[in-house]
Amino acid sequence: MVALISVVVLFAVVAYIFLNGMQVISLNFLLKSPNYAALDKGGIFPQIIGSLCLLAVCLLFAVPLGIASGIYLAEYATENIITKSVRFFVECLAGIPSIVIGLFGLIFLVYYLGFGPSMLSGGLALGFMILPWTVRASEEAIKTVPHSYREASLALGASKWQTIRSVVLKSAYPGIITGILLGAGKAIGEAAVILLTTGGLVTYIPHSLLDDVGALPVYIYMVLTVVPASRAVAESYAFGASLVLIMMFLMISVFALFLRNTYVKRMSGSRR
């Protein structure tokens, strides 16, 4: 009985948001810019695009760095003080509360480096947040590649880097992508970091990296707290935005789970 509580809660939240959100969603809502003076005349198009842009910047930063670190930890490094401290600091970074990363983004990216509240600051701060996920996911995925693959490739005369690039990464990539997608699902719903590193009430689509950008989680927060609108309208718009956000998140994670399942099946198939 007790075990079912988490299932019930999950369905209750999703169903509640879905039922209330559906009433607001229309083409106008999805494709218009927000109008903060008269909320019910606007939409959330820039926020959807903004969320995706932030996610892109974040992944562009965290994915190459994470995969490279993972390769180094799994393939090159011997167990010594350096790899131990790298692992320790990756754990540290994973444990830092998102609000602290937001504050760091505010002082370092926005003020010290002078990026201002922009897409670049927000994306990089998100990147700091999910970097540990990408590092761990790639290290784990690379470690599960059977040793015989590597030995076969090396025996054929391939160099170490060639082996990693065309043998190890090729069989590890579904695992890596799953890890990255789970990180992306976390990044897209993150509000605290983006709230501190980008502006709040944005009505346009960003044209460059240094433009300000709106994101769905921040929009929900702003609509409920700052924007002057009647309570009912604000709530219904927040429902609509929540629904879009949940849909994005569900798509990402269902895709990740699907990928993982096919990957597991394929791996167990090849062993038989």
Binding site: V2, A3, S6, V7, V9, L10, V13, Y16, I17, L65, A68, S69, I71, Y72, L73, Y76, T83, S85, V86, F89, E91, C92, L93, G95, I96, P97, S98, I99, V100, L103, F104, L106, I107, F108, Y112, F128, L131, V135, S159, K160, W161, L182, K186, I188, G189, E190, A191, A192, L196, P217, I220, Y221, L224, E235, F239, L245, I246, F249, S253, L257
Partner: protein, 313 residues
């Protein structure tokens, strides 16, 4: 130079180039592996630099009873106390639901049911915290206001929302540590005539204890660091005080930062105090994580397992 010699030198040069490339790649990978260390150092350095003026207030900052920025009073003690109250309460609820769930999943559950529950629990982790907070605001807060009175936005609402958020961690780590208990213990206990419940209580739980504890401490760290969901349901009064009932609106460390950063005067003591709150939060969560790491390390150690068996007799 004959043809074959020419080819040989060329091959040699080519090989050297290849080797050089390999070396460069290895260096590049090494540098990127160091990036996480660099980022953590940058975070610590910048947070400390910004917060030193406030941390230098010492006693007045850590144990001051009033947080009233417009009167230049920055005592975070009530906020820290509430943060722990909210975190511990949430954890108690999460433990009360999570540990039985973990036992059920690991010991009793048929396979098909587990295949439904497990992905749902995993999904629950990822529901955007702002959405969960909004749900709490619309459903929980209204429910509490109607049935218990008061503002509705209160510690109780914070407990429930945070319990939902920490539940998945508690369930999955506890389940793993219950599964890690060697099968032989269970079989030995059953063979001695113990019932299944007795076996779980006397043989399995004592051995899985450190893993379960670790999951709780980790959940506590998450609960303390959680921002948006809590922010939306706990009310956040202008001047925080130490609450005397669970139906009072309160304010936690994270919500203070989010609410006040937007109107803070840059370079003022207020701004330094907000960053100092960030440092305090960082330290609290780091301590929880460190304790978890130590506890998990002891989990598979033979000594704890043996002690558990002997202790339970």
């Amino acid at each position: 130079m004959s043809d074959s010699e020419c080819i040989r030198t060329f091959k040699f040069k080519f090989r050297r180039m290849e080797l050089r490339k390999e070396k460069i790649i290895e260096k590049l990978l090494f540098v990127s592996a160091l990036s996480s260390i660099l980022i953590v150092f940058f975070i610590i350095a910048f947070m400390l630099k910004e917060s030193i003026p406030a941390l230098a207030l010492g006693w007045d900052f850590f144990f001051g009873m009033t947080w009233h920025p417009s009167h230049e009073q920055f005592g975070i003690f009530p906020i820290v106390v509430t943060t722990f109250v909210v975190g511990i309460g949430a954890l108690a609820i999460a433990a009360a639901i999570g540990i039985p769930t973990a036992i059920f999943l690991a010991e009793f559950s048929p396979r098909w049911l587990r295949n439904i529950i497990k992905p749902c629990v995993e999904m629950l982790v990822g529901i955007p915290s702002i959405v969960l907070g909004f749900f709490g605001l619309m459903v929980l807060v209204v429910f509490i206001r109607d049935s218990f009175g008061g503002y509705g936005e209160c510690i109780l609402a914070g407990w429930i929302i945070l319990a939902i958020m920490t539940l998945p961690h508690v369930i999955s780590i506890s389940e793993d540590s219950i599964r890690a208990v060697p099968k032989g213990y269970k079989e030995a206990s059953l063979a001695l005539g113990a019932t299944q419940l007795q076996t779980i209580r006397r043989a399995i739980l004592p051995n899985a204890r450190s893993g379960i504890l670790a999951s709780l401490i980790l959940g506590m760290g998450n609960a303390v660091g959680e921002t948006m969901a809590v922010l939306m349901v706990i009310g956040n009064p202008e001047i925080p005080w130490i609450p005397s009932s669970i139906l009072e609106p309160v304010r936690v460390l994270t919500s203070t930062i989010v609410l006040e950063y937007s109107y803070v005067v840059w370079g003022s003591m207020h701004q330094h105090a907000l960053f100092a709150i960030g440092v305090v939060l960082f330290v609290i969560v780091a301590i929880f994580n460190l304790v978890t790491t130590v506890a998990v390390k002891g989990r598979f150690g033979a000594t704890t397992a043996i002690k558990g068996v002997i202790g339970s007799r």
